[in-house]
Symmetry: C2
Amino acid sequence: MDLVRAGPRVVSTTIRIPDGSPFGPHNLPYGVFSVAAGAPRIGVRLGDTVIDLSVLLDDDGADRVFSAASLNPFMAQGPARWAEVRERITALVAADLPDEALHPVRDVTLHLPVEVADYVDFYASQHHASNLGRLFRPDAEPLLPNWKHLPVAYHGRAGTVVVSGTGIVRPSGQRKAPDEAVPTFGPSQRLDIEAELGFLVGVGSELGERIDVDAFAEHVFGAVLVNDWSARDIQAWEYVPLGPNLGKSFATSISPWVVPLAALEAARVPLPEQDPQPLDYLRGGQDRGLDVELVVEWNGEEVTRPPYREMYWSPAQMLAHMTVGGASARTGDLFASGTVSGPERRQRGAFIELTWGGKEPVTVKGEERTFLRDGDVVTISAAAPGPGGTRIGFGEVTGTILPAG
Amino acid sequence: MDLVRAGPRVVSTTIRIPDGSPFGPHNLPYGVFSVAAGAPRIGVRLGDTVIDLSVLLDDDGADRVFSAASLNPFMAQGPARWAEVRERITALVAADLPDEALHPVRDVTLHLPVEVADYVDFYASQHHASNLGRLFRPDAEPLLPNWKHLPVAYHGRAGTVVVSGTGIVRPSGQRKAPDEAVPTFGPSQRLDIEAELGFLVGVGSELGERIDVDAFAEHVFGAVLVNDWSARDIQAWEYVPLGPNLGKSFATSISPWVVPLAALEAARVPLPEQDPQPLDYLRGGQDRGLDVELVVEWNGEEVTRPPYREMYWSPAQMLAHMTVGGASARTGDLFASGTVSGPERRQRGAFIELTWGGKEPVTVKGEERTFLRDGDVVTISAAAPGPGGTRIGFGEVTGTILPAG
């Protein structure tokens, strides 16, 4: 950034935004950051600069939400406040900003941006659900009878949602191959990823009430990238009849930057056709598809580009379904899409699909690879169209596999 | 209670404990209560009296944990502190107590005793799992191949765990009978209960670490009664392949009194035989069965008495399994046993089993009944043996069914 010393205070006259940056003035994602030994607080990213909102905005009497160590207090304030703050930030960055409020992103530590309340993981990609059905239940119809009528989901472990960069210890657990008589215990041999988008609830709902499919933007604050690490061997043995548990509970990584819903308006697309038409309470959410393209890198090499626009169920339908029985939502609830997979092989968002259960390896850095080895690094990034040909970046969610404990 | 005015301060010379009270001096369960417009705080129950620990114990400098609105800060202090506080309470109640610290239980409002972190529900009764298998999958083996090798469980919705007495709004959702072509939407027609015990984690664990089966008492603070309300028609349609979601996410009720683990020492019994022997990480928890008898009343009439001593998996095995893959535990984690069912019909802890899918009604107040109607009240209570022939009461968890919204 260009700095001009103006009297006793250092001010920045501009924040220089690199050409083509996906963190331009139409994005403005929020995160929780700290510098050196300072306390975590709320920042917004512009280019490669983190703007400290606790310095700029916490003088307005609105509960000092930007001095908090999570986005929850700000998210709870609701859409009118979110819009007002976004306008203020847009005005602020057009003018001089005090240097004390600006930090190069490379100098900050990024933290888990939210206190996760409940974590629900959907299964909203028809391509993914069909592929997994073929792999897990080879003798049956790949798509189960309920799949096109409701967005299938399960509750995951909120306490093990971690921020990008957290090391992922390979889980141990019970596995039993079909040709083995009894299960054995040991480190997972089929450790996998799931590339997903996650949505964060800002404004919750009361017990016994439902959130209408059209009320999505009144409740949802923004979106993050999710890597729902999955131990396929543990999952395959445990998951009947109550669903996945230890195969997925050991860690779920999310990106540190929360892209506000307002930044994704230009990325809205209609869903691919839903046939049969869903029940009334799910209609109206069909214009809430999102044209977000994910990119998965394995040890630095791109291996797949899952297209979010191919998802069968929209996030508005997910939220409406989640609450239609009267379950309340809370500030900090995270609901994720499930693996994003497109129709092409190089659009599959999990390695079990990409390598067809490990039988069709992919080449990574010159080696044939199927599942994750200790030391492997997986990085998921994503971007969406913004206004006027700009790009809205999600940043990345990354993790390194550590040996079993 | 007998009161003697002694100078300027009203003191109670004794707390009169009704004969045969299951809340005698060997129980001392903790809860969160308030009186009139006062703030919620921590109390302990003796007989029909609630003793305000914020008055008696929050002068000791230990973070004023008894003035909190949940047990979480106290639970986080760990087993040495739990033992010390139990000893202090035992000494205090033998002496005079200031009247300002004593409230008749009928005069207080009881609140949700904990902030629930993650909620995991197990499936640890062989009788229940076999019965549900026969009812949900009539053409297959009732017990799935993994069931005797690991305590099957799923994550429930922590945000809809409510305290006893909270009204239960009948959930609406998708249902499809096998002979219907497409699902319909409407209020659940097969609303049910699940009578369970729940266990509360006081001291958590780090990500990537496991809690050994022998370390149960270092982590678990106490137990509560759980009613995991279940909409069987919604559950039956949605639950493949990722497990129950809306069929159970609308509400889970827990009792307001948390019985400390120390009060359940006399109730410890060995598990029924586990055959096959479980894997190493689950052994050693086989002496952690509990002789707790539950009683379910439907509109005031006793309909079943589920025996916890019949459970196949112990809570120590549940906690060891939950963390063996490196998932961390947190203060406030609630893990429940799943429905407690014994071998006899009148020991089944869910109405779907008791009435065999609605085909064998039970008589309640002179009427043939299967599933729950609006206005029905279900109350689960329980007691266990205490030292010297005493009884350790859990109090009750109750709920009234309200019409669909």
